[in-house]
């Protein structure tokens, strides 16, 4: 079974993924930061007893780790970029479906975190996450007040407990002078937030950004989704317009960079994360304007490479060693060959 992000999605030239996260807490238990071991185990058992085992695999995080699922959870963007979901695994549980696109984490920063992810632009993820949330709300005594809505440990989530996140690859806007500043202003008008996938380090120029909803109070789910949809349509349009500018005004340079980037990704034996993402940026910029049809370079391939490199498990002592670079280059070659 392929991972969720290996499928094709709408507007995948710009939007890598759409995610909906819903958090809920169960009455009668302290929030995770103040929960003792006995309560943590009782909560895990309680949630486990109501989870639909036909729909989800997984269970106690310790068992999941012992089964060797840690890498898959990282790749599937479930365990967090730093793998924090798997810290103190004896106090946590993780449930996930076949393609890891739908997951339920128990005992992380909130009692229950439901995450639905889909490739490309797909706001349908909200309904998928909501279906699981509604089911759990019917079976468990969920912390809720009429005044503030769903009560959470973090005040930033109190209310709907909903975050919508679009992960976008916008190298053209990023390479356009003042592009990100203008986009940031636009995103702010919608009361949403935009931030780079990485502020510093190897991935800071990846052209990958996350656009996330902020408000959980004073807005309905419908309003949050509507604003997000309007915003993402604007972003897609702006990125495509910027790409067109690059492709028409600097055609020769772009074509050259496109070919070089493809060659590097397709034939290199060693590859750092920065190199890989930089090359993918150039492919993204010119892919739709390449009329030579010499290269087999589907959006799905580029998105898979981007997501695997961004959410790569970084083992201590293995960062950018020759072994990790070799492994990465091999995987990228395979993806571009269309072997997987």
């Amino acid at each position: 079974m392929k991972m969720w992000y290996e499928r094709e999605g709408a507007d995948e030239d710009v939007v890598l993924s759409t995610k909906a996260c819903l958090v809920r807490n169960v009455k009668g238990y302290n929030f995770p930061s103040k929960m003792d071991e006995k309560d943590a185990k009782s909560l895990l058992a309680k949630v486990d007893s109501v989870m639909d085992k036909n729909a989800f695999s997984g269970g106690l995080a310790t068992d999941v780790v012992n089964k060797g699922e840690a890498e898959a959870l990282m790749k599937a963007q479930i365990s967090g970029r730093d793998g924090s979901l798997l810290y103190s695994p004896d106090k946590k549980a993780i449930y996930y479906n076949e393609d890891y696109g739908l997951s339920v984490a128990v005992g992380n920063s909130e009692h229950i975190t439901i995450k639905a992810q889909a490739p490309g632009h797909d706001i349908g993820v909200y309904r998928v996450a909501e279906k699981v949330a509604v089911d759990l709300e019917k079976k468990l005594d969920i912390a809720y007040s009429e005044k503030h809505g769903f009560l959470t440990s973090s005040v930033k989530l109190t209310g709907t407990g909903l975050r919508i996140l679009y992960t976008v690859a916008i190298p053209a806007i990023a390479k356009t002078e003042g592009g990100i500043a203008a986009l940031r202003q636009r995103v702010g008008q919608y009361e949403w937030n935009i931030y780079p996938f990485a502020d510093q380090g190897e991935l800071n120029e990846s052209g990958v950004y996350i656009i996330a909803s902020v408000s959980t109070l004073g807005v309905s789910e419908d309003e949050t989704l509507e604003r997000g949809e309007m915003l993402i349509r604007d972003v897609i349009k702006a990125e495509r317009a910027c790409r067109e500018q690059f492709a028409t005004k600097k055609k020769t340079q772009m074509k050259d960079l496109y070919g070089r980037a493809y060659g590097l990704l397709r034939f290199a034996t060693l590859m750092s994360r920065r190199e890989a993402l930089d090359a993918v940026c150039w492919l993204r910029l010119y892919r739709d304007y390449d009329d030579s049809s010499e290269f087999e370079c589907k959006w799905k391939m580029l998105n898979t490479i981007t997501q695997e490199v961004c959410w790569e498990q970084q083992r201590r002592g293995e960062i950018n060693t020759q072994t990790s670079q070799k492994k990465r280059a091999e995987r990228i070659r395979k993806i571009l060959k269309g072997v997987d």
Binding site: R7, N25, N30, F31, S33, K34, D52, N54, A55, S57, N97, E98, L102, A116, Q117, A118, D122, I123, G124, V125, Y126, R127, E130, K131, V134, E137, K138, I142, A143, S145, K147, H148, G149, F150, L151, T152, S153, S154, V155, K156, T160, L162, Q189, Y190, V214, S215, T216, L217, G218, V219, S220, E221, E223, L225, E226, R227, E229, M230, D234, K237
Partner: protein, 226 residues
């Protein structure tokens, strides 16, 4: 690092109040202005600075630790921990620190009242689903294919039945007027360029030229980069 209140990137001057970073402007708005004077200002007049410094320190202490010793009777969470980490310990904390939590909500979101769905009920997605019903490809294992196929068929049948009905009964003029009334109240900054163009056409078709010109100005302003 960014200001927790307004989100501006902090470059030169970072002011930490209870370990939370703020920009100078926000710190002043929050009433900490008197503590932000430069050393030159503080030491401008001979001898008086010592008194000022002493009283400032006393006031700082009161601000930082006055009510921060308040704690939740259920989980033992201290107010100062909440102020520092922004996280609560249990549901009871919402009662214990209510005033502070509401302030925090306003600071973060400009709102403290709930506007979402009730537990156990699905949200009404009128704005999203009326345009295009989103259908995600994510599937839980238990979704039987037969069930899904029949659901799709039902939906198709429903759609084909609904279409002519809509044509027969739908009063297009009323719909257009409703849309225009909505547009008049709408924050134009929230509309995409495409939506604006559609709206201009709709307004012009319905002879609402004032609205059409307002929309056209917004679009023009955007194109000129205002």
């Amino acid at each position: 690092m960014r200001c927790e209140r307004c989100g501006v990137e902090l470059t030169n001057k970072i002011i930490k109040i209870n370990d939370v970073p703020y920009c100078e402007n926000c710190a002043r708005i929050m009433g900490y202005g008197k503590f932000l004077r430069s050393p030159e200002e503080m030491l401008g007049s001979a001898f008086s600075p010592f008194d000022e410094i002493a009283s400032s320190i006393m006031q700082m202490n009161e601000l930082d630790f006055g009510n921060s010793a308040l704690s939740c009777p259920k989980c033992g969470m201290m107010l100062r921990d909440f102020e520092r980490k922004g996280r609560l310990g249990c549901i009871e904390c919402y009662n214990t620190f209510n005033d502070y939590i509401v302030k925090e909500m306003f600071k973060q979101q400009g709102e403290s009242t709930y506007g979402g769905r009730m537990p156990g009920q699905t949200a009404e997605l009128n704005n999203i689903e009326k345009d295009a019903k989103p259908e995600s490809k994510i599937e839980a294992k238990s979704d039987a294919p037969d069930e899904k196929a029949s659901e799709k068929e039902e939906a198709k049948e429903g759609a084909s039945e609904a279409e002519p009905q809509k044509e027969e009964t739908g009063d297009l003029k009323t719909l257009a007027l409703e849309k225009l009334a909505k547009l008049e109240k709408a924050d134009l900054g929230m509309l995409s360029d495409e939506d604006l163009q559609t709206a201009i056409k709709l307004a012009a078709d319905n002879e609402d030229y004032i609205l059409a010109s307002k929309l056209r100005d917004e679009l023009k302003g955007r194109k000129e980069g205002n």
